[in-house]
Amino acid sequence: MGEDAAGNGTGKTQGDFKTLAQLSTLLSKAFAEDFFRLLLAYQTISASEAASRLNLHIKTAQDFLEGLEKLGVVSRREVFEKKRPYFRYTLEQEILRIEFDLKRLRPDAVRSEQLEEILIREKKNAGAVFKTSPRTGALSAITFTTGKGRTRSERKISLTENQGRFLFHLPFPTEEPLSVRAIMDRTEIDSVYEREVMDMVRYLVEAGIVERR
């Protein structure tokens, strides 16, 4: 969790997306709001005390507190007062702010040279079925199987209009491969859709539908 210049806990999460997801999961619990009221009221509290007060199973309270502890929202210390040692939790952050820049997830920008270097065509005997719109004939989806034997499963990928146009002109298995740039030029797809097209190309290469040189 973040800290301001004075070292006070600002409650600002600037971790990775996973941290953000974990905190959001905890906060979305039905009992989360009541739990935080309890943490604000008590100096320290144990999982069993919280569970009994909120009418929760002790494991539920324990998991919640451990999750908050990992994220630095609460701290804990081991105490040896009773028969067995246990943890007591203290709220450390009285303000929670969640901030995450989604641009960090954006795929790397496609370099112009990449579009010309990457030569692709459909892979022979890939087994994919390309669904076409009965009205327009455009490619609208691809269905293929993944896995083998008992783990075999069918995947259906819906295509955007530009992806459909791109794949419509993907060279056949016995044709000479073409560069991504050449196919995009042929289909007059605007460069703003480069990431979208490359995302599908990468995915289909991994799925074994498209062959890359």
Binding site: V129, F168, F172
Partner: protein, 267 residues
Amino acid sequence: MPSANRLKPNTGLIFGITMGTAALAAIFFVLARGFLDLRTLRLIIAIAMTWTALQQLIFLFRIRNIQFLVPALTFLTLALANYAEWFEYDTARTVFASIFLPLVIGTLVLLAVNPLAFRSRRILELAARPVTGTEDGYTPRPYPAGDVQASKEEIIRFARDMKRKLIAFSLINRDRVLLAISDHDWKYVFNSRPNPQKTTYAAFDFEGNFSVHIAKKDYRRCREKLTFDELCSSLGHVFERFFDYHRIGEPERIIEELNHLKEKQSG
């Protein structure tokens, strides 16, 4: 250029003859055994002929080819003659029987000169001929075959003409025209929404782009595993050529080219 007959033999005709022979044998058997009397058999024939006549009329209206009127009248006359026999209308029976023979002769002459059958097999053969590669590479995707500089009206006229001339069955919708070719083209008469995955076709959109698709069952009819993109490209050229013939006002060259192929195969 590779030799003629790039497609496997057509087993449909053999099947048809076998079934017809079996049907005749069955009729003689039931008559001989007395399971049915001649009068009842005539009624069955009359109903069957009525249905066949109706089919021919449906073909006439769906395909807009007036030649279907001849077999339609022939079957209808045969049906009426048998109904007349059933109802024992002697005069009617005589009338129908007397006009039946000329109609039959007319039908046979018509079929000899211009068989009422779609020429799907010849189109596939025409496409397969120039292909030299045998790398297989089948894919169920349509193949972008190029574009034709044509208006929507020209494309629709071409499509309708292809259907009327029994070259390919045209299916016209809001965005494009599909020219379907198959051994069983007649099914499109009753079903105007074929499964694109299972249909061999050439598709023209109204911006002039056209593509072709070869169904797996039709690809399997080739004697060899022809290089698939070459075969698709060739089929595209065939339809491009047909379109050009039509556009320059020489549509008869399409039939000539297909008939010439038939002569080569027979010769």
